[in-house]
């Protein structure tokens, strides 16, 4: 991040909020630089494979995968909210625009006139609490961490020939 001049020196802002804003802006610019130069880098594996097999994945590969990886929850919530509200579809409202706004409003029943539930709760409260406890117990398990570390070590040792082939010729 300190490739930007402002980060080479100590922060000269007067509040933490200004520091945070400056650093976030710097992070966004760094991501833009990485994205613009990503297709020019070739790893040893891709260089050995003889080309740019998806190295420009800042847009198509990993970024696309991450978007469907990360936005799944939000997308589901919004879709559920629109469905539960029972309101008219935006496309449909635009399609019968010949009838005017008054005609469209007349077709709306009491249920359809309700405010849309933009962020409905996906589960009852009790289920959320149980899920929180489960997630807490699962993520803070040192035994699982040790087991995962041992298995990962064994897995890497098993595949050491393939992983080291590019580095030892």
């Amino acid at each position: 991040m300190k490739r930007f001049l402002v980060a080479l020196h100590p922060g000269r802002d007067w509040s933490v909020w200004q520091l945070m804003t400056a650093y976030k802006a710097r992070c966004i610019m760094k991501n833009m630089c990485v994205e613009s130069r990503r297709s020019t880098f070739l790893s040893r594996r891709q260089h050995a494979a003889g080309g740019d097999d998806g190295t420009s994945c800042g847009v198509g590969g990993e970024a696309g995968g991450a978007s469907d990886f990360g936005d799944g929850q939000n997308g589901g919530e919004h879709a559920g909210g629109a469905a539960s509200a029972g309101g008219p579809e935006p496309g449909g409202a635009a399609a019968d625009g010949a009838g005017g706004v008054a005609a469209a409003m007349g077709k709306i029943d009491a249920a359809g006139n309700a405010p849309p539930a933009l962020h409905p709760a996906p589960h009852p409260v009790a289920a959320v609490m149980a899920a929180n406890f489960d997630a807490w117990a699962e993520t803070q398990n040192p035994v699982e961490c040790e087991r995962r570390h041992d298995e990962l070590t064994a897995d890497m040792f098993h595949d050491r020939g393939e992983l080291l082939a590019l580095y030892i010729g």
Partner: protein
């Protein structure tokens, strides 16, 4: 995750580390809380990046007197992880024949042994921090160009 799997780290979704940024204009009244290392005042920056050093998560503004673990405990990433809101368990991966759905972050040895932390190879973690803390090579050396146009290009 697919690219990390090719590199021998299945289930890894990024590297997590903290660094300090010195705060030159820190008010005197806040100097105690923001007292950082080497008698400097500063804030802590926690970031998650991948192999290309694309920053996926950034948490800025924690006082410099906190260490990495304290910063992690108050970051939204940790709260979402322990609250079950992140990550989605859509993709599974296999390590040594065992299939899992909880991805992990690559961290160094100071972090606690949570099941979503991978304390395997700390040097790979510091690569991101080193990149963030060092300017490009041609900025670190005097310019050898002879004209302003070549410098600008």
């Amino acid at each position: 995750m697919e690219r990390n799997k090719e590199r021998g780290m299945p289930g890894c979704i990024g590297s997590l580390d903290c660094c300090h940024w010195e705060w030159h204009k820190c008010p005197t009244g806040m100097a105690g809380a923001y007292q950082s290392r080497r008698d400097k005042r500063g804030i802590v920056v926690k970031a998650v990046c991948n192999k290309d050093l694309w920053v996926w998560h950034l948490f800025v503004g924690a006082p410099g007197s906190l260490n990495d673990i304290n910063v992690m405990h108050q970051s939204p990433l940790y709260l979402n992880f322990t609250g079950g809101r992140w990550p989605p368990r859509k993709k599974t991966y296999t390590i040594n024949g065992r299939t899992r759905s909880l991805p992990s972050y690559l961290v160094d040895g100071i972090y606690p042994r949570f099941s979503f932390f991978d304390l395997s190879t700390p040097q790979a973690v510091h690569r991101g921090a080193e990149e963030l803390q060092s300017p490009p090579f041609f900025f670190r050396r005097p310019s050898e160009r002879t004209s302003r146009d070549s410098l600008a290009s």
